[in-house]
Symmetry: C2
DNA sequence: TTCTAAATTTGTAACGATTACAATTATGGT
DNA sequence: ACCATAATTGTAATCGTTACAAATTTAGAA
C-alpha cells in the first residue's frame, strides 16, 4: 500500500511525519497510544513532537482514515483499520484483540428513527492464552 | 427500594453520603458525571467533598451496584442500573439513552475459549427528537 | 457515659493525558 | 530567490482523577 497516495486520496497532504505515523499505525496491529507512537518514532524522526502526534491523529480521524478507541479510561488508542470490528481486551496480558462482528441486534423499537453514526463494542475479560497457562 | 438495606446487602456500610449518592444515581436516569453528582448534592450535604464522590463510586463499583461508562473521551459517567444494556449518545442534544440489547452475535471461532467479563456497547449519532426538529 | 480504635470523610497537592497557543520551520507557487 | 501559507514544535495551561494525610465520625468495650 502506498501511504502517500492513501493520504492524498483522503485530502491529507503527505509529510514525513504524517507518512511515518500512518505507516506505524497501519503496520503495528497493537492499537498504540500516543505515547507508544511517539516513543517508537522518536528514533527515526529526532525532532518529533508529541503535539505533532496528537495533531496528526486528529487530522487522520477527521478525514476518516483512523479511528480512536478508549477501552480503559485513561488513555486513547488508535487504529488504522477502518472495517467495523469490536475489541477485546485481556485483563491479564493487556493485549487488545480485533474481533469481527457479524451483526448487532438491538430492540428495533427503541432506535427507530435514530441515526447511528458510530458503533463501539468493547469486551473485557481473559483471553485463551492467559486462561490456559 | 430501601437504599440503606440495598447497601448493607452488598457489603457496604451505609452513611449519609453513601445513601444520598446512591439515591441520586438511582433516581436520575441521566448517567451523571462526578461533577454533576457533586453539584447536585452539595446543597443537601454542605460539607461534601468531590473526593468522597470518587471514593464512594469506586466502592459501589467494587461491590457491583454501580457501573461506569466512558462514552466520550473526557469524563466518566455512572449508572446504578446493572441490567446489561447499551448506550446511545445523541451528538446534538447530548442525551444518553439506555438501549436494551437482545443478543450480541460475534464470530464464535475468535472468542472460543475466551472469558468475557464485561461487554460495553456505545452508539453515537442523532436521536429521533433532534432529527425531526 | 466515656474512652479508644477503626472507618469515613475531607481538602490539598500531585499526576497524567490532552489541548491551546505562539514561535519556528518547511512547503509551493510566482 | 521571495513570499504567503501550512506544518511542526515546545511550553504552558487545562481538566479529570488519584494520593495522601489530617480531621471527623462511628461503633464497641469498659
Amino acid at each position: 500500500m502506498n501511504i502517500a497516495h492513501h493520504l492524498y486520496s483522503n485530502n491529507i497532504k503527505p509529510s514525513v511525519q504524517r507518512i511515518k505515523i500512518f505507516e506505524y499505525l497501519y503496520n503495528s496491529k497493537n492499537h498504540p497510544t500516543v505515547d507508544t507512537i511517539y516513543c517508537q518514532l522518536a528514533g527515526e524522526i529526532p525532532t518529533l513532537s508529541k503535539t505533532t502526534v496528537y495533531n496528526t491523529l486528529k487530522l487522520f480521524i477527521e478525514n476518516g482514515i483512523t479511528s480512536s478507541l478508549i477501552i480503559d479510561g485513561n488513555e486513547a488508542r488508535y487504529d488504522a483499520i477502518m472495517k467495523k470490528h469490536a475489541h477485546f481486551k485481556c485483563n491479564d496480558c493487556g493485549y487488545i484483540y480485533d474481533i469481527e462482528i457479524n451483526d448487532l441486534k438491538l430492540k428495533d423499537s427503541q432506535l427507530a428513527g435514530f441515526e447511528i453514526g458510530e458503533t463501539n463494542i468493547h469486551l473485557i475479560g481473559k483471553c485463551k492464552k492467559c486462561l490456559t497457562k
